[in-house]
Each structure stands twice: as C-alpha cells, then as structure tokens.
C-alpha cells in the first residue's frame, strides 16, 4: 500500500547554463498535503513541470507511483492545474462541459470516446464546483472566478490520486477560494488524495497543509507543518512574526 | 531560447546571402561576353526573331522575357531596367502588350537609346475584334478631344488587342519598323539589313499566302481556343470565326457560362479539335476536351518560347507552320 507517490533523487535543471534547480531530493507519500513555497524564481514551477514530464531534468531521477517518470503512462492518476489557465481563451469556442470533459482524457485509450459513466463524472464535478447551471455557456462568457471553477472541475473530474496545483487561487474571489480549499481538504481526508499546492498565500496554506516544502533552487526545508513551525531556520528566513502568523492559523 | 533563435536567423541569412551571390555571379558571366556589338533589347519572341533575321550576327539581340515566362503578367525586374539603360536599341510590341514600357522609358537616362514601337501605323482591333476599324477611328477622334484631360485612364476603358504579329501583313510592317531602328543606330550595315529584311518579308508573305490557301479549303469556318484571345488578327485576315475562353490576357478565369457556351458552340459546329495555348498548363482545354470528346491541338501565340523550344532552335515561321498544320486538321480542310 505505501508505495511512494513521488520520489525525486538528486534532481538538477539548468536553463541556458543558469542553475534553476540543484540537488533536489524528496519523497511524497500517499495522503500528503504539501504546501510548496519559496520566493519568485525559486524553481517551483520548473519542479512541477519536471514532475509532470513536461520538462526533462538535466540530471537526477523522478519516479511516479513507483515507476520512472520516463516510462510512466498512467497520467490519469495525476491531475494538474496550471497557473496559466487564465491565459487568453477569449475567443475559444468551448462550452464549460466540453472543457471539463477534457479532464477525462487521460484515462482513455484510443479511440477515445465519452460514455454515460463519463457524463456522470462530469455532472458530479460540475456539481462539486456549483457550476451545473452554466455548463452550456462558453468559457469566455464567464467571470474569472467562474472560469477558475471550471478548470478546477476539469482537474478533479477523473478523481486523480495526485493533484498538482500551481497557484490556483491567484486572482480569484474569496468565495471560490474558500470553496476550493474546502474541496481540497475533503479530497485529502476522504479519498486520501495526495496534493501538492504551490502558493504565495501563506495564510491559507497554514490552515490545510500537512507538510511544507521551502524551495529556493534547492530544498531548504521539507517536513511536517509542526516541524516547519518549530524550525529556527524558517523563523530566521521569514521573520518570527510571519512564521507565527502561518503557524498560528494552523492551530 | 534566444541563442537558438539567433542560430536560426544566422543560418537563414547565410542562405539568403548565398542565394544573392549565386544569382549575381550568374548575371556577371553573361555580361562579360559582349564586346562592342550593338545591344538590342526585345520584349517578345517575334521581335527577337525578326531582329535576328534582319541583322544576322551583326548585333547582340536580347529577349527580355526569360524562357517559359508568360508575357502578359511580366514586369521587368530592376536588373532588366539596368539592361535597357545600357542598350542601344529597345524594341517593344506596343503600348497594349507592354503597358509598363512607357513609364520605364520615361525614367531612363540613356539619351542615345533608340526606341521602336513596332505597332506604329498598325491599326489595332478592339474588344474581341468586333469593333475593328470603326473603333480605331472613333478612338482617334476621342483622343483629340481628351488629350489634355486624362491620358492614362484612357487605355483602360478601351482595351485593344495587342497580338498584332499574328497577322503576317502586320508582321511585315513590324519588320520595317525594326529595320528603320537598326539602320538609324548602325547606318554602315544598312545594305545588309535592308536585303535581309526584304528576304524575311517575302518569307512572311509566303507564309501569309500559304495560310490563305490552306484556310480557303476548310469545311469549318470557326475555331475554339481554350486560351486567351490571341488570334483575333489571324482569324480576321482569313475570314474565320474565332472564340477564346479568356480575354486579351490569360490572367483571368472563365465563368461557367463561358465554358458552357464554348462546349455548345463546339457541338453545334461539330468541331473535333480544341486548341490550347503555349506555356500554360492546358487545364481549361482538357476540361473542354473531356466535355466534348475533342482532341487537343496547340495553337502557339509565339509570345515567348519554352526552354526546350529555344534549345531546338524554333523560329517564328516554324511555329506558324505548326499552327497552319493544326488549323488544317482542326478546321477539317481538304
């Protein structure tokens, strides 16, 4: 049962001979809810793109669900929400339902067809994000908050075992944010969904995450939330006040 | 990323530089051989061939059109203009065949250049040959009235058939104009030029007689051309009816009605042959042949030659001989 979800060893990545990531090693076990934090340009997004197989590392290995990411094929187990989902879809002619259905694609084999069980899964995801009534609307007719719910629905529609979220709550209304964090908590508690959440929102992450990773080209800190709060390194890094703020919220 | 992009741009620039270097080298090689001969630039193949026949090898004749290029859509490149600027004699068909000539000649600083408009004193036919001489007279009157108002716009509302060389009487007049130009530039060889011109004109005259003779004994008095309207002068000279798919130049596209009219005409007259034009893929002719079961035959307008034809040493007269034979077959002459 306790197969590690992610195992990273001695990972490094250079871009145009500049070091982006160095000597990154860590394990993620089932049910972890990891808050991934770090300053701008610390390599968080790069790390995630490598985990997803979108980038090749310069050195080191990544394995997903016990298998090297090079021959990992079960992408349906991984849900991914990129920070760029707000990019310009201004005239893309897809309905909410069509976009959510894209999330089911990773489970399908050729020829990829949608059946009645898929319809139900879509319906469920729409309900989950409270967007059933706008399912036939076009994505560009929606507000930013609604759009984001659609993308979250797309990410969770095939109930992935691992969710990777890259700053999903940037520029989103508080209600959506609240609903989103509650949803993640439910998934984490009830379905033991493993979650990696990249965020700037230190306040919120403190409420939910079970582990913290502080990345700045290298892994500066990786451990449970309690360890994070006790760590003197972290208090010197953040200043004891903000550390207190994060940790206080958790209690 | 930027390094990669730079690499690409670099490679591309190299290719382009190589391309330019290559072409300019080529041109230079061509220029070296010319020594002291009179430089004569012609625009269309008939003019080129006429010059060759009159002058033999006394002048250096150049055909502006590269082999295989369709002449109606041709515009001289900067390099061509440089060549005209360095030439002694520039011979063109007329303002309707080479509408670009007037502007270019105006802009030249070659003071000693003699320009020959081969259509001088030749009466042009108007729209599809229907108006004929009447039109010509009207045009003259018209021009006097409007000379000051709009010289340029005039050409467009009265488009004239530029294919004068396909009437062999006109062709003889063109030979005269060319001779005049050559003598003006090179009086020392006047006798030779005049003698050759006379000989060539008599050949053209023979050709004319032969056409007259052949076409007088034909069952059909009509021929259908799936090309542009180039043979109006020829048809009128020998009393034939002539139908073409396009107007005076081949750049337009025929309408479905036009094609249906053509097939109807072919069927009505029981024509078993359809003519296609030189240089251009005979798509329309093939369509009409499929529609009517007619056989394809070429009718060469002689505007320009293909590369192969140049290498074979085809002449204006040999092309017209071919045309005569093809007309003989198509018009069912006995």
């Amino acid at each position: 049962m306790s197969v590690t979800i992610i195992s990273v060893r001695e990972l490094s990545f250079q871009y145009n001979s500049a070091e982006v990531l160095a000597e990154v090693s860590f394990d993620v076990t089932p049910g972890d809810y990891i808050g991934l934090v770090g300053p701008n340009g610390s390599g968080k997004t790069t790390l995630i793109r490598i985990l997803l197989g979108l980038l090749m590392p310069s050195a080191g290995t990544v394995s997903l669900f016990g298998r090297s990411s090079l021959d990992f094929r079960e992408w349906y187990k991984v849900g991914y929400l990129s920070q760029r989902f707000m990019a310009s879809y201004h005239h893309f002619p897809a309905t909410v339902k069509e976009i959510v259905s894209m999330g089911l694609l990773s489970k399908k084999r050729f020829p990829k067809r949608m059946g009645s069980s898929d319809e139900m899964a879509i319906e469920k995801a729409l309900e989950c994000m409270d967007i059933v009534d706008i399912k036939d609307k076009l994505i560009h007719e929606l507000s930013g908050g609604q759009q984001q719910r659609v993308f979250i629905a797309r990410t969770i529609v095939n109930e992935p075992d691992l969710l990777i979220l890259d700053e999903p709550t940037a520029a989103v209304d508080p209600e959506t944010r609240e609903r989103f964090f509650n949803l993640l908590e439910n998934l984490n508690h009830q379905k033991r969904t493993t979650i990696i959440l990249v965020t700037h929102d230190m306040g919120s992450i403190g409420k939910y995450a079970s582990k913290m990773m502080y990345l700045d080209k290298r892994v500066i800190f990786y451990g449970t939330f309690e360890e994070f709060c006790r760590s003197t390194d972290m208090s010197s890094l953040f200043g004891s006040l903000s550390q207190h703020l994060i940790c206080h919220r958790h209690e | 990323m930027s390094i990669r992009r730079q690499k690409w741009i670099f490679i591309l620039t190299l290719i382009l530089i190589a391309a330019f270097a290559f072409t300019s080298c080529q041109k230079k090689e061509q220029k070296v051989e010319k020594v002291q001969k009179i430089q004569v630039i012609t625009t269309l193949f008939p003019l080129y061939d006429f010059v060759k026949n009159i002058s033999q090898d006394k002048v250096d004749a150049v055909l502006l059109l590269p082999p295989g290029v369709e002449p109606h859509s041709f515009e001289p490149k900067p390099d061509d203009i440089v060549r005209i600027n360095k030439a002694d004699l520039f011979i063109y068909t007329g303002p309707f065949m080479e509408p670009w000539a007037a502007d270019i000649l105006k802009g030249l600083d070659n003071k000693s250049l003699i320009v020959v408009d081969s259509s001088k004193d030749i009466s042009l036919m108007g729209e599809k040959g229907k108006h004929g001489h009447d039109h010509e007279k009207k045009k003259e009157v018209h021009e006097k009235e409007h000379r000051h108002s709009h010289e340029k716009g005039h050409k467009h509302d009265h488009e004239m058939d530029p294919h004068i060389w396909l009437n062999f009487a006109n062709a003889q007049k063109m030979v005269d104009h060319i001779l005049e130009g050559l003598v003006k530039k090179d009086p020392t060889n006047k006798e030779l030029y005049s003698k050759n011109a006379e000989q060539y004109k008599s050949k053209l005259n023979d050709l004319d007689q032969k056409f007259k003779e052949t076409l007088s004994r034909c069952k059909k008095k009509i021929f259908i051309h799936a090309g542009h309207f180039a043979f109006g002068y020829l048809a009128r000279r020998y009393g034939l009816q002539y139908v073409a798919a396009y107007g005076f130049s081949p750049d337009a596209e025929p309408s479905p009605k036009r094609l249906i009219e053509l097939t109807k005409t072919m069927k009505k007259h029981g024509l078993k042959h359809i003519y296609y034009e030189e240089l251009i893929t005979p798509r329309v002719a093939e369509t009409l042949s499929k529609e009517t079961g007619a056989t394809l035959l070429m009718l060469h307008g002689a505007h320009n030659l293909t590369k192969d034809e140049f290498e074979k040493g085809v002449t204006f007269i040999s092309l017209m001989e071919e045309n005569r034979k093809n007309l003989e077959a198509g018009l069912q002459c006995q």
Binding site: L52, K112 | P254
Partner: protein
C-alpha cells in the same frame, strides 16, 4: 430547365463534387489552424508548393512527387520552429514560406527558364478539375474525417491548451505532426485543383465565420464545415447565374456570409447592452 442543363456538364459536376469535399477538408483543418493562430499556414505552404514546383521543373520530374514530400517536410519545419525555437506561428510560417519562394526564384534563374510558366501552377481552376483530382480530394477528406472522429478529444485538448493536454497524457507531438502533415497534403492537392486563392480562403474564412456564432467546440466545427460547403456550392451557382469567374465568386460569397454573421453578432451584442 437552364439549371438542369447546367448540372448536366461534367466539369460542373466535378466542380460541385470536388468543391464539396475540398470545402469540408479545408474548413475542418482550418478550424483547428485558426484557433491555434496558424491561419496563414495555407498561404505559407502554398508558397512552398510554388518553390517545390520549381524544383520539380528543374529536375524534370512530375510536380506532385516533389511537392508532397517537400511541403510535408516544410510543414514539420514550421512545427519544429514553433516548438523548439519558440517562435510565434506567424514568424515560423513566414520563414518557411519565404524560403520556399526564394528557392523557387533561385532555381528559376539557375535553370535559365522553364518549359512552362511557373506562376500558372499557382492558379488551379475549380472549373477545370480532373477526375484524379476529384478522387484524391474525396479520399483525402475521408482520411481527415476519420482522423477528426478518432482524435476529436485529443485535437480539442491540444487546441485548447497544449501544456495541460500533454500533462493529461495526450501525445501532443503526434497530434501536431498529424495535423500539420494533413494540412500539407491538403494544401498541395487543393492548390493544384482550385488554386492558391481558394486554398487560403477556405482554410480561414469558414473557421472565422463559425467563431462568430460559436455555441461550443463541436458546434463550431460543424458550422465551419457547413459554411465552407455552402460557400463553395453557393458560389458555383452564383457564378453561373451572374456569369462571373467561379473561384473569386466563392471567396466573395464566403466573405459575404462572414459579414452577415458578424453584423448579426454585433447587433445582438448592442441589443443586449441596451437591455
């Protein structure tokens, strides 16, 4: 009566049949291309075709044997420029198409002329379609149709967002390659059959028209093909009635449909704002 007479001509029948399939072909592919901001790829590849015809004439081989592989390679070249060099689509298309023209012109000057006017290759004519061109266009639209049916979801997700499609395990590279190769073959074939004007118009106009009325991805794709077919068939009939050149009539009619739809949409937006 006149209409029945009109339809009895073989070239009209071939124009209608081939036009129908070419319209389907181009509007299907064009829909994906326009959404990916690759509208001008038809034009670009047409110029490469021009260059490849020069190559064929230079080596005196049958033009299609050279054009199809050359244009396919160029299409993949555009794709790699976009993927690897991170160039924008229009820049990549511009590079490859200008290279195509440059090679054409260079070869024309090296060869010292050809046996046929090179530019006449750029202008096929919908009224002068051969039986082979008709059969090829039917086969090719069959292939494109099957590809769209079997890879519909992959195409949708790649078109929408390539990165998340890739993260969802879609073989984005394979899908892209497929799309570009089909576009290449389509451009060569339609260029030869109906000319550069109709090729680039049919790759763009039906798609942008459908985007004006979009009700969803699948709906837009269908509307795009409908607009394409309507323009071609309608254009052929109009050109008969009004005695006009057919290719240009098709393009103008297609543009007319676009303007109608556009005006309708603007009117609706204004009305909604007033309410």
């Amino acid at each position: 009566m006149e209409m029945i007479d009109f339809l009895s001509y073989g070239f009209i029948q071939r124009a209608l049949i081939t036009g129908f399939f070419i319209a389907l072909l181009c509007s299907f592919l064009g829909f994906f291309l326009v959404l990916r901001r690759l509208s001008l790829i038809g034009d670009g590849l047409a110029h490469v075709t021009f260059g490849s015809v020069a190559v064929a004439l230079f080596f005196k081989t049958f033009a299609l044997y050279v054009s199809i592989p050359v244009v396919m390679i160029s299409a993949l070249g555009i794709l790699r420029l976009i993927e690897k060099a991170k160039l924008h689509g229009d820049a990549a298309i511009g590079i490859v198409s200008s290279l195509g023209i440059a090679i054409g012109i260079l070869l024309a000057s090296l060869a010292g002329g050809f046996n046929i006017d090179l530019f006449s290759y750029l202008f096929g004519n919908i009224l002068a379609i051969s039986r082979e061109e008709m059969i090829l266009s039917i086969l090719l639209s069959g292939v494109v149709f099957l590809v769209i049916i079997f890879f519909y979801h992959d195409l949708l997700s790649v078109t929408f967002d390539e990165e998340s499609a890739k993260a969802a395990g879609v073989k984005t590279r394979r899908i892209n390659t497929l799309l570009f190769l089909l576009t290449a073959v389509t451009v060569v074939l339609t260029m030869k059959a109906v000319g550069i004007l109709l090729t680039s118009a049919l790759l763009i106009l039906p798609a942008v028209t459908s985007l004006q009325v979009s009700k969803g991805f699948k709906a837009s794709l269908l509307i795009s093909s409908l607009v394409g077919v309507l323009s071609v068939i309608g254009g052929i009939f109009i050109s008969f009635w009004l005695n006009l050149p057919t290719g240009a009539t098709i393009v103008l009619f297609n543009f007319f449909i676009f303007m109608l739809v556009f005006a309708h949409r603007r009117y609706n937006i204004k009305k909604r704002r007033l309410l």
